[in-house]
Amino acid sequence: MNRRRVVVTGIGAVTPLGNNFAQSMQSLREAKTGLGPITLFDPREWPCRVGGQIRDFDPRPYFRIPKAIKLTERRTQFAVAAAAMALADAGLQSGQDDEIGVCVGTGVSDQQPQELARAIGLDPESRAATDVPYFSERILSNLQPLWLVVNLPNMVSAHVAIQLEIQGPNNTLMTDWIAGSQALGEAYRAIQHGEAQIMLAGGADSGIYPQAVVSYSQAQLFNGQKEEPQFALGEGAAFMALEDHEHAVERGARIYGELVGYACGCVSLSVEDSHGLAGTIETAMREASWKPAEIDAICAASIPHPSFTQAEKTALTRVFDGNLNRIALFEFKSRIGHTLAASGPIEAALALSCLASLGRTARMLCTNLGLLGQTSALAFQIFPDGRGESK
């Protein structure tokens, strides 16, 4: 089957390093950290007091219909902003036609338990938490009616499409930490197969809320000190405008690079069984027709916890062997925390931009790992001159 070539023509992001992509890259250049004291809730009693919290972010400029902001929570606002910036960066305007689609990777929201608890707390008979018919009859009407609509994960891609007037294919991935990477991969496939000419693809998530800290604490991921954590949580969004190569060339778009390979899977994370991640990497490289010696850089998940670093190290050694000594390894989580479903696209975008300043073509592999062993690999060919040509 004749697959279309897919290129990256726009990047937009809201990250702990900056409320737009240019600011984020500038912070990187200045060796700033995006980690800081958590202020969205009082973390005094929690195992981690520091995180990649986004500050001073105003969603209003990015919402064509500001009334919709009441229907959104943080990650949705980051998503709309990042997607809008990616669209603008690609030199495209919203509302053009149905040839532009959206594909987002996201996670669960905090579900606003205080709202649910408040409604249940109004129950004079204390039955609501366990008696479902009673709850629906007597308590449901006390719940803020927008509660569900705000918290549904697929609302992220819906709001992006509504605010940017994008009517093409619309998809939401919920595969935990690799969701954003998968969103890039699925959008890539959609364009390859001619389902859309342009896809705004990326991830949006927020880990700065009590339930996330509790969950990861129970999973024993916080293994450092409260003020200087090894594992920290972050938040943000990054989108790439992925586009049919011919379409991009025809309209004279600036081309950052080309997506040439993608694979995903799920493996056991035990060190002995890490051939699964290696397998995912090899599948993506096979699609790209790349040999291990031809890779310039790897943006690995680099999750600061022994189980993940071991699995990744073993897989990368298995695939690249001696080549690892000369391959540049990107690591961003020490500066922005784990941005969960947004981590794949945020880190891929930062790495891509770093490599684009090298002045020559570069081959980058982005690998990712999920909490329960989900894997993904994306192969990017990066062009230095913006015209999509190799040097």
Binding site: I65, Q144, P145, V149
Partner: protein, 130 residues
């Protein structure tokens, strides 16, 4: 017990907040749908905010039918507002943009008649005033 002024002030505030409108643009005769951009989900939101602010319950029936026609139920035929009914509404709401309905007000147009005044009058009839 609230005064009419208090009810009017709170309703205007709630509608402005729910619809992200400039309060200066929220007039008594403003149609929530045509002038302030309200969608069906906004009516649920406004109802909830009114219930919370005034400590009352507003039923489904009241939300869609009572809000608009209330005591004017006799002004409705199967197709919509009768001619006589339209004349009566026009005299009661002279500042409303009646030119939006050149062919009369059909049943499906009824939600567009919901104005800030509609909500105020509904609450006044429900709560009474000081």
């Amino acid at each position: 017990m609230y005064t009419r002024d208090e009810i009017e002030r709170r309703v205007t505030e709630i509608v402005a907040q729910a619809l992200d409108s400039d309060p200066a643009k929220v007039h008594r005769h403003s149609s929530l749908i045509d002038d302030l951009g309200a969608e069906s989900i906004d009516f649920l939101d406004i109802r909830y905010r009114l219930e919370t602010a005034f400590q009352i319950k507003i039923s489904e029936d009241d939300l869609w039918r009572g809000f608009v026609v209330g005591e004017h139920r006799d002004l409705l035929s199967e197709n919509g507002v009768t001619e006589e009914g339209l004349k009566r509404l026009q005299s009661e709401m002279p500042d409303f943009r009646w030119e939006r309905f050149p062919e009369g007000v059909r049943r499906r147009d009824l939600p567009r008649l919901i104005t800030v005044r509609t909500i105020i009058e509904y609450l006044v009839s429900l709560l009474g005033t000081e």
